[in-house]
């Protein structure tokens, strides 16, 4: 009896392997692709993914249809874990997750059981600095006042960029402001700023500034560079004196270089990943795509290639455990 089962099993495996090899030998061609979004409908990740879904197919062999599905949970941690565990690794599923996933295991020991390096990065849309800003009415208009006055900064959840960068400025530079957590989104924080309940917020991108620039003070930046049309601002991490803290801050700032990334599961064949990466970089230069994304939030596309992201992530994760420890404390 056992022998029969064993034989049957062996046959199955043989057939399976043969099938898998067949699939590999063929030139890469995509049929239908699902972009899974690690957030609920409506946010930036969802919107950009739906736009990408409209255009990406044109740049991939086989001209696949692309559909979007929301898989919200834990700020895209749920989807990241699915990508690392259960999603098919054949290019039929692409995931849009938070760039913060690249250091999630480092910052939160609870997540130590997954390896961001195993993710295959396809590319990202935005590479730009983040800001701290305050309402004009708050009177906090210079870096000195920002670091030395008593006031409130608004943030959403503790794992959000609005909290992480506020905490980085506060802990890294021993600033006196307090962070109020629990807002629903950046629009809520801006409304509270207009009501005068809080003074400002951190970790915001140029999108948050564009609508009402004349009512805001920009205080300083995280990451390098500056937004289009803005004067050069001081960078928070440059003001940190302790070298190790500065290194930890740089580690956290790295993710600003690959905002809104796409990833595919670890086992995805090399050819498939390459085809996706190539198509992605062609897409981000396409006038029709750029016109569409330009409508969305006046966002400036400044893409980072998948290869570059992988390099950045592995560099990020090469830092010593003491730097990780410092980074953890920095964003507590």
């Amino acid at each position: 009896m056992f022998v029969v089962i064993l034989r049957a099993l062996r046959a199955f495996i043989a057939v399976g392997v043969a099938l898998a090899m067949c699939a590999q030998a063929q030139a890469v061609e995509f049929k239908t692709i699902t972009i899974k979004v690690g957030y609920g409908p409506g946010g930036g990740y969802d919107q950009t993914s739906r736009l990408i879904a409209r255009h990406f197919g044109r740049f991939l062999p086989g001209g696949p249809d692309i559909i979007v599905q929301n898989v919200p949970g834990g700020g895209s941690l749920k989807l990241t874990k699915m990508v690392l565990g259960s999603e098919p690794a054949d290019g039929s599923v692409i995931a849009s997750v938070s760039e913060a996933m690249s250091y999630a295991p480092v910052l939160d020991p609870q997540n130590a059981n997954f390896d961001p390096l195993a993710l295959q990065w396809i590319g990202s849309l935005v590479n730009e600095p983040a800001y701290c800003m305050t309402a004009k009415g708050s009177g906090i208009d210079t870096m000195d006042k920002f670091l030395q006055s008593d006031f409130l900064i608004g943030a959403t959840g503790k794992s959000s960029v609005t909290y992480i960068f506020a905490a980085l400025a506060k802990n890294g530079l021993k600033a006196k402001f307090k962070i109020v957590t629990g807002f629903d989104g950046t629009a809520d924080i801006e409304l509270a700023m207009q009501r005068g309940e809080i003074a400002g917020m951190c970790g915001v991108s140029s999108y948050n500034i564009s609508g009402n620039r004349d009512t805001l003070n920009l205080i300083g930046t995280f990451g390098s560079g500056t937004a289009v049309g803005e004067a050069k601002l001081e960078r928070f991490s440059d003001k940190i004196e302790d070298a190790k803290v500065r290194e930890a801050a740089a580690l956290i700032e790295t993710t600003l270089q690959f905002h809104h990334p796409l990833v595919v599961p670890p086992g995805t064949p090399k050819e498939t990943v390459e085809a996706l990466r190539k198509g992605y970089m062609e897409m981000v230069r396409d006038p029709a795509f750029l016109a569409d994304i330009g409508k969305l939030s006046e966002m400036t596309v400044n893409a980072t290639s998948g290869e570059d992201i992988s390099r950045l992530v592995s560099k990020q994760l090469n830092a010593g455990p003491d730097v990780f420890e410092t980074a953890r404390n920095l964003v507590k």
Partner: protein, 657 residues
């Protein structure tokens, strides 16, 4: 005036009107089918609007969003299954009316109330245009907390004949709402390591299970929706419309509740529905008791939930702060069309804003009229045999539930909550109170901590906060006094022994929650759960003691036939265990089938199989009904909402051959 004319001229273009009507029809379908909400449909429609002009785009989106709350009452009234979270309150009296053969009247009342409410909400939006920004800026974070606290005090109105159980149910609901990652400390509360629970229990699934499954069990036992009640007449519909017109003060008040609360971020449709319902229940009028088929219980939530669309656009337009979840998706459409929420929408783009008012109003009218036309065939469903209806409704509940997260947990949750709902229904724990606690819990906690972080305790002295909290206290005190006065209402009580077991279980559960919260969570994350669990423990302990005394005395007749109609606040008077088990069995069978062979094949096999098992004469009809059901599931869940479904297990095995 010019503005209104411009908006009407702009909207009069055929393509824009076509989009509006298209939106309305999509919205009606989305509302009827449990599991697909307006939220999801909005996300699907947005990419289609990229190529349209802004007027057409918003006509489509708002047309869709405005009418889901009109059609979601159809399954609520007929089957007791809320088509979306906004219809849960309508289930109580609407379904009770259908059971009495008054489905057509309930439909007439609900659609006309929806229409008036929707138009009212649109007018509120129009009237708010000049004062919108100062209005929204006037309300501060503590005011939002006070509004939620006031909303929670409505629980007192929903507590029913055994008030302690009502209060306990509300606390139980609140406790359930704390499951997931908390927003202040960012730790996970009672998720047992499951990522599924991180974002909390999905409201749509909880309401489907809580209200839908228990009603199905009794439908199965009755044999058809209205049992032996007389044949529904078309005239019932006109009677319903007349009811709404006669109750115009109620309609206007509840529309006001809906549009104003709709403007408060964090107070969603699920909340304002119950508040309107609770408000109406204070004055039941001449009809039957609330929960037993009082038409006011249909009119109140229906006018409120349609009025919210206009209200929730206020903060969205004025500040880009979404007044509801679907508004946050609508914001995506703003940016796509190069619109910046804020002063521009009230100045430069005011004509567009006015066209939104127009779209909402017209959509509500078109939606309600369409539904009214469909009333006659729908009311006939009330006579169809349960052997056919139950499998179909189970299919929509289970497939709709699975659609939420495409995870086996969806099944477990909806069936588990369904079982809890059955027990609550049977043992007189009001599900309405549970629901209000469940939907308000997170906002209460969140606004409290925001207010506290921003201004310590000083916010308690703000005038609006004082007024609202004062009103809440007065309401609760008045209700308590009336309970004390009517010490022994003499209503029918559920059987003592299961009641005792339930009370004791709840006490233990509360104790366990209290201990885990106190020992495992950091202070900010623990305080609300501790208070809630503590109150739950006290309430359920007292209930348990009361029941024990009753059990020892064995004096009260367990079931009195004094009050024939079982409703939300009187326990069922017939043995229902068989029906409950049958429904849970059916759901489990379908869930397993879906996992094994996928949702389409499963629908076919399940519908054909269960109709045959439940009893029918011919062989042909089950197959035909199953085929039609499968085609419908395909067109809704695969074509309308095109999404990838997980590969069924059998297909996974089949791949090796």
């Amino acid at each position: 005036m010019d503005l209104i004319l411009t908006a009407i001229v702009e909207m009069a273009q055929p393509f824009r009107m076509l989009m509006l009507v298209t939106g309305v029809f999509v919205g009606l379908v989305v509302g009827v089918v449990p599991g697909i909400g307006g939220l999801f449909a909005m996300a699907l429609l947005i990419p289609m609007t990229y190529t349209m002009d802004a007027y057409a785009a918003f006509a489509l989106l708002l047309g869709m969003g405005s009418v889901n709350t009109t059609s979601d009452t159809i399954p609520a009234i007929l089957f007791g299954v809320p088509g979306s979270v906004g219809a849960a309150a309508t289930v109580l009296d609407g379904h009770a009316m259908a059971k009495k053969g008054e489905a057509a009247r309930a439909f007439g009342a609900s659609y006309s109330a929806s229409m008036i409410g929707g138009v009212f909400g649109a007018l509120v939006l129009a009237a708010a245009i000049p004062v919108m920004r100062p209005l929204v800026l006037y309300l501060k974070t503590p005011d939002f907390f006070a509004i939620c606290a006031f909303g929670l005090s409505i629980v007192a109105m929903l507590a029913g004949s055994q008030p302690l159980k009502g209060l306990a149910a509300a606390m139980f609901g609140m406790l359930a709402s704390f499951v997931g990652i908390d927003k202040i400390a960012g730790i996970d509360r009672w998720t047992f390591g499951e990522i599924y629970l991180w974002d909390g229990l999905p409201v749509a699934l909880v309401f489907l299970g809580l209200f839908g499954l228990p009603e199905l069990a009794s439908l199965l036992l009755r044999g058809s929706i209205q049992g032996n009640a007389e044949r529904p007449t078309y005239a019932g519909m006109w009677q319903g419309i007349r009811d709404t017109l006669r109750e115009w003060p109620l309609v206007l008040r509840c529309s006001t509740i809906g549009s104003l609360l709709g403007a408060v971020p964090g107070v969603g449709i699920a909340v304002l529905d119950w508040i309107a319902y609770g408000y109406a229940s204070r004055r039941p009028g001449s009809g039957p008791k609330f929960g037993e088929g009082n038409v006011r219980g249909v009119i109140a939530p229906e006018s409120a939930n349609n009025a919210k669309e206009g209200g929730s656009l206020i903060p969205t337009i004025a500040f880009g702060v979404p007044g509801s979840a679907s508004m946050s998706i609508l914001l995506g459409a703003f940016v796509v069309h190069g619109l910046v929420p804020g002063p521009d929408m009230l100045g430069k783009n005011a004509a567009l804003t006015m066209s939104m008012v127009f779209s909402i109003a017209v959509a509500n009218i078109v939606g309600a009229v369409t539904c009214l036309v469909l009333t006659r065939p729908l009311a006939r469903v009330a006579q169809v045999s349960a052997a056919i209806l139950v499998p179909l409704v189970v299919t929509f509940i289970v497939v709709g539930a699975y659609q939420t997260n495409m995870s086996a947990f969806d099944f477990a949750l909806v069936i588990g909550v369904g079982a809890v709902g059955m027990a609550m229904k049977e043992l007189n724990w009001p599900r309405s109170a549970f629901s209000l606690g469940f939907v308000l819990g997170p906002s209460l906690e969140n606004y409290f901590f925001l207010a506290y972080q921003i201004s310590g305790w000083s916010w308690l002295a703000q005038p609006l906060v004082l007024i609202l909290l004062g009103l809440a206290v007065v309401g609760v005190v008045r209700q308590t006094l009336s309970w004390i006065r009517a010490r022994n209402p003499g209503g029918p009580l559920p059987p003592a022994l299961p009641d005792l077991v339930a009370g004791a279980t709840m006490t233990l559960l509360a104790f366990a929650a209290l201990v885990t919260a106190a020992t495992g969570f950091p202070f900010e994350a623990a305080i609300f759960p501790i208070i809630t669990a503590g109150l739950l423990m006290v309430f359920s302990l007292v209930t348990t003691v009361q029941t024990t005394l009753r059990w020892r005395r064995r004096a009260t007749p367990v079931l009195s036939a004094r009050d024939g109609t079982p409703g939300e606040w009187s326990p069922v008077s017939e043995p229902t265990m068989k029906g409950n088990l049958a429904i849970i069995g059916l759901c489990l069978a379908l869930a397993v089938l879906i996992l094994l062979v996928g949702h389409l094949a499963a629908t076919f096999i399940f519908v054909a199989g269960s109709i045959t098992v439940l009893g029918t004469k011919s062989w042909r009809s089950p197959l035909m009904i199953a085929a039609a059901a499968t085609a419908f599931v395909y067109s809704v869940f695969d074509m309308l909402a095109s999404q990838p479904w997980p590969a069924p297990w059998l297909a996974g095995i089949g791949r090796f051959f």
